[in-house]
Amino acid sequence: MPIYQDNRELLQRMRWLQVVFILVFVGLFAKLWSLTVLDFERYQNLAERNRVRTIPELAPRGLIYDREGRVLVDNIYGFNLLLFRDEIQNIDETLSFLVDGLGLDRDTIQERLNNTGIYNIYRAIVLKENLTMEETAYLLARQSEHPELGILKQPRRIYRYSSLAAHVAGYVGEVSGKQLGQSEFKDNEAGDIVGQFGVERTYNKRLQGRDGRRRVLVNSRGRFLQELDHVEPIRGAELTLTIDLDLQAEAESQLGDGPGAVIAFDPHTGEILVMASRPSFDPNQFALRITQKEWDQLLENPDTPMQNRTLQNTSSPGSTFKIIMALAGLEKGIIDNETSVYCGGSVDLYGNRFHCWKSGGHGHITLREAIQHSCNVYFYLLGQKLGIQEIASFSRRLGLGSSVGIDLLGEALGLVPSEEWKREARGEPWYAGETISLAIGQGPLLVTPAQMARAVGIVATGKAPNLHLVKGESPNTPKQSLFPTPDFSPENLELIRDAMWSSVNEGGTGRAARVAGFEVAGKTGTAQTISFATRATLSDEEAEQFQPNAWFVGFAPREDPEIIVAVVVQRGGSGGSGAAPIAREILRVYYEKHKRVQPDGMELAFQVKKTQRL
C-alpha cells in the first residue's frame, strides 16, 4: 500500500470548488460596491429620513388690522393630530386606535387618507384639528405605541368678528393641486394653508410668513432622542386695512340680510372705508376645513353669500345714472343750468310713450330740479339729444365698464352699451328708443356699486384714484392711477354737486339721507329689474320677487368731500326709501366720529383729521 493515497481526483474537484468560492465572493463585492458607492446618495438620504424626523412649525399668518389698528383677523393656537404616513406600521391598527380611543369617525379619516394624492409621503397629514385637552392627554399617554401619530401646536386663523367684512378679509384654505401649478403659489407645497379669497388671497405672500421646522433624531420606534436643529417660524407681515370697522359694522347691520351692498371711500386717496356685502359668510368655517355640505349650502343659497356684491354684482344703476347724463349734457354744451324742460308726466318719442315716475309731471324744470326730483322726462330729452355714442363715451370717462383698480380678485367690469356692442353682441343695430331708456339708467347698462361710487367720486373731487383696501403701497395698486384723470370743467361738476346737495337737503328724492350738521349730497335710483309690461302679468307675490333695486350714491361734505358712499339694496324698492336711509346712518356715524368741538362750543367738523390709532 502506498503511504500517500491517490487523492488527486479529490483535490482536483476541490480546486473547482475554490473557483466557485471566488466567483461568489466577486458577486458579493459587486453588490457591496453598488450599495455603498453607486447608490450611496440614495441610501444616505433614506438613512437620513429614517432617523431624522422633520416636524413642521407652521408660521402664523400676519395679523390684519382695520385703519384704526383694531385687530380684524387674528391667530389662535390649537393642537392638531398629525399622521406621519411613512411611519405607519399597520394602518388598521392605527385606525382602530383612533376610532375606539378618540371616537373619530372612521369614514372621515379614511376620506382624508384617500385624498392625499398630491402630498409628499413624508408630509404629515392633519387628521383632526383642535384637539380637546382630554384627547391630547389620551394621545400623549400612548405616544410610544404609535410613533406614526403626532400632536402639533399649530396656528389657525380666527376672524374676530365672524362675518363682519368677510368679503374683504376673505378666508384661507389648503392650497389646491391646480394652484400649485401657478406661479403665485410656486413656493408652496401641498398641504400648505394659503389665502383663497379677499385680501388673504391678494396679499397672501406678505401675510403667510415662513414656516419653521424642527429636526429631531428618533430611534426606530419613533422615540425622540435629541433635537438636531430648529428653524423658528417667521410670522407673516401684518396688514393694515383702510376699512373703518365702525362704519363697516354700521353698514352691515343696516343692510341686514340684504341682499345688498355698501361701499364708501375717501375720494382723495381711494382708501375704502366700507365694503359691505350681505348676506355674508363666516370665514372661520373655512379655517376649520369646511365640509362639503357646508360649502354646498353656501353655494346653493340663491342670495349668493360668497359674492362680494360691491365688486361682483352688476346691475342697472337706475336714476343714479342721471349724474353722468347731466355731466355729459353740460360738457357737450347741450344744456346749461338755465335750460328748462317741460315735464308733463310722460313724453312720446319714436312712437313710444316714456313715463316720468311722477304721473302728474314736474312742470317746467331746470337741471338742478331735474336732479333734485329725479325727473325722467328731462333726461329722456337730454338722452335723445346726446345720442348713444356720447352717453357711452361719458360713461367710460367716468369709469363705467372699467376696473376701479381694486386689490381684490374677481372684479366684474359691467357693460357700457354702444352701437358697436349691440352689433357685435346681438347682431342688431342700436334702436333710438333704447337710448331713451338708457338715459335713466335702464336697459343693457350694467354697473357695480364700486364703479358708481367712483363715478360719484370723480364728480365730487375731479379725481379718480384707484380704490384699495390696504394702507400704503399694494401690489395691485400701482402708484400711478390706472384710470386717466378725467378732465371735466369744474363749473359743470359744481353744478351737479349743487343739484345733488339739493336732492338731499331741499326736499328732493334723497332727503332721507340728510344728516343734521353734515352737508350730504346724493342721488337716488330705483332700478327696475323687469319691464312694466312684464310686471303687469305677475301676481303680487311674484312681483315682490322683482321689486326694483334701491340705489343711493352720494358724498359729504359738499365742500371738499371726504367720503363717497354708494348703497344698493336689491329688491329694496325706491332708492329714496330703500337705500338713502342706510347711507344716512353710515354718514351719521362717520360725522360723529370725526366732528371736532371747538373750545367756544362751535361744532367744526373735519378740521382735524381722522386716522388716529386706538
Binding site: L10, I22, K31, V37
Partner: protein
C-alpha cells in the same frame, strides 16, 4: 502534547486569521451595543470566543482519526440530543431549538453541523470508487436529512437548510457524475414548488419579499431594506467606528447576530467590509491548501466539510445582509454574537487545524500508524466491539 514539535506543525496563519475575524466580530458587537449602552453581549461574546479558542485547540490536540472513528457514536448522541430538545427545549424567537443551562442557552443544532461533517467524511472515506453510486447518495441523504427533520420540527428551518450545502460540498468533492448531478438538480427544481406548500406563511412571505422588496417596506422586507440602508449609507469609507447611527438606533434588526455585517459595513464602509470578506476568502484558500497537504482521504473530506460550512454560511449571511437573499436567520461565522455558533465554528476550524497538524504520516502526534484507512477503520471497529 504541547511539545515544540506540536507547535512547529501548528498552522498559525489560519489560527491568526480566525482570531482576527473573531475580534472584528467583537468590535461590531461592541459598537452595536452603543445604541442602548448595554455591553453585556460584548462581554459574553469575548467569553464565547475564549471558549471557542479553547475548544478549537482541544479538538486540534485529538487525532482526527479518533474523532472519525467515533463519528457514528457522536452522530447517535446528537440525534438523541435533538430529540430531547423537542421535548425539553426552550423557545427563543419562535424556534424551540435551545437548551437553557443557567444564564446560558445552547443550540445543539449548531454543533450538529460539526458532527455531520465528521459522519459524512467518515462514510465517504470508505468509498474508493471515483464516483458516488446512487446507494451512496441515498445513505448520505438519509444521514443529513435525519437531523434536518428534527431541527425543522423545532421550527428552525434556516439552520436546517444550512446542512444541505455542507452535504453538497462534500458530495461534489467526493465525486458525482454529471448526469447524476443534473438529475438531482432537475429533481430539486421539480420538488421545490411542492415544498412551497410545506412552508409557513411567514416563510413564504420572506421569499416573496426578497423577490419584490417594495412588497412590504415596513413588515418583513423591512429587515432587508434597513440593512441595505445601513450598508449603503456607509459609503466608501464608512461613517467611522461608533458612528453607525442607522444600526445603533435600532433600525436594523438582529444587529448583534445575523445582521452584524450591516453595522460593520456602515461604520467602516466598502473598504472595511471588503477587507473582512477578503479575510474570509483567505481562510477558505488556506483551508484548500490544508486539504492539498492532507495525509489521507478522510482528512481531505473533513476539510471539504469545514470549507463548505464556512463558505456557505458566509456567502448566505452576507447575501442576506446585502438583500440578495431573504433573511432566514443564518449567523455570520466568527462575527455574529452567539455561543453555539461561535463554538461550532471554532470546533470546525479545530478539525482543519487537526488535519494540518497531522499532514505527515510520521508525525509524532499521530496516534495510529496505520497507513490504510480501511485497515485503520477495521482496527478501530474491532476496538469498539471489544470495549
Amino acid at each position: 502534547m504541547w511539545t515544540r514539535r506540536f507547535l512547529s506543525q501548528f498552522d498559525f496563519f489560519l489560527f491568526l486569521a480566525v482570531v482576527i475575524l473573531a475580534l472584528i466580530g467583537a468590535l461590531g458587537i461592541y459598537n452595536a451595543s452603543a445604541g442602548d449602552g448595554n455591553y453585556s453581549l460584548f462581554a459574553r461574546h469575548l467569553l464565547w470566543v475564549g471558549l471557542g479558542v479553547a475548544v478549537c485547540l482541544f479538538i486540534t490536540s485529538i487525532d482526527y482519526h479518533f474523532l472519525t472513528d467515533h463519528a457514528f457514536l457522536l452522530y447517535g448522541l446528537t440525534t438523541l440530543l435533538l430529540l430531547g430538545i423537542l421535548v425539553f427545549g426552550t423557545e427563543v424567537n419562535g424556534s424551540k431549538s435551545w437548551f437553557a443551562i443557567g444564564p446560558f442557552s445552547f443550540q445543539p443544532s449548531e454543533i450538529t453541523k460539526v458532527v455531520l461533517i465528521l459522519v459524512l467524511a467518515r462514510y465517504l472515506s470508505e468509498i474508493s470508487s471515483s464516483y458516488l453510486q446512487p446507494r451512496h447518495l441515498f445513505t448520505l441523504g438519509a444521514l443529513t436529512l435525519c437531523p434536518m427533520i428534527l431541527i425543522t420540527l423545532q421550527g428552525d428551518l434556516g439552520t436546517a437548510l444550512m446542512y444541505i450545502p455542507i452535504l453538497f460540498g462534500v458530495v461534489m468533492v467526493a465525486g458525482l457524475r454529471i448526469r447524476v448531478l443534473t438529475g438531482i438538480l432537475m429533481a430539486t427544481l421539480c420538488v421545490a414548488p411542492l415544498g412551497w406548500f410545506f412552508l409557513k406563511d411567514y416563510q413564504k412571505e420572506r421569499i416573496l419579499v426578497t423577490l419584490d422588496p417594495g412588497r412590504d417596506p415596513q413588515g418583513i422586507g423591512y429587515q432587508s431594506r434597513q440593512s441595505q440602508i445601513a450598508i449603503g449609507s456607509g459609503g466608501l469609507f464608512g461613517k467611522g467606528l461608533g458612528q453607525g447611527l442607522q444600526s445603533q438606533l435600532g433600525f436594523v434588526p438582529e444587529i448583534h447576530t445575523d445582521f452584524i455585517f450591516a453595522i460593520l459595513a456602515e461604520e467602516i464602509g466598502f473598504v472595511g467590509s471588503i477587507s473582512i470578506l477578503m479575510l474570509y476568502l483567505l481562510v477558505l484558500m488556506r483551508l484548500v491548501r490544508i486539504a492539498e497537504s492532507a495525509r489521507d482521504r478522510v482528512g481531505i473530506l473533513l476539510i471539504t466539510g469545514v470549507t463548505s460550512f464556512i463558505f456557505f454560511h458566509v456567502a448566505m449571511n452576507v447575501s442576506m445582509t446585502l438583500g440578495i437573499m431573504p433573511p432566514i436567520g443564518i449567523p455570520l461565522p466568527l462575527l455574529s454574537y452567539g455561543g453555539s455558533s461561535t463554538i461550532t465554528t471554532f470546533a470546525a476550524l479545530g478539525l482543519a487545524l487537526n488535519v494540518h497538524q497531522r499532514r505527515f504520516v510520521c508525525s509524532p502526534t499521530s496516534s495510529a500508524d496505520s497507513s490504510s484507512p480501511r485497515s485503520y477503520l477495521q482496527a478501530s471497529l474491532f476496538k469498539h466491539y471489544n470495549s
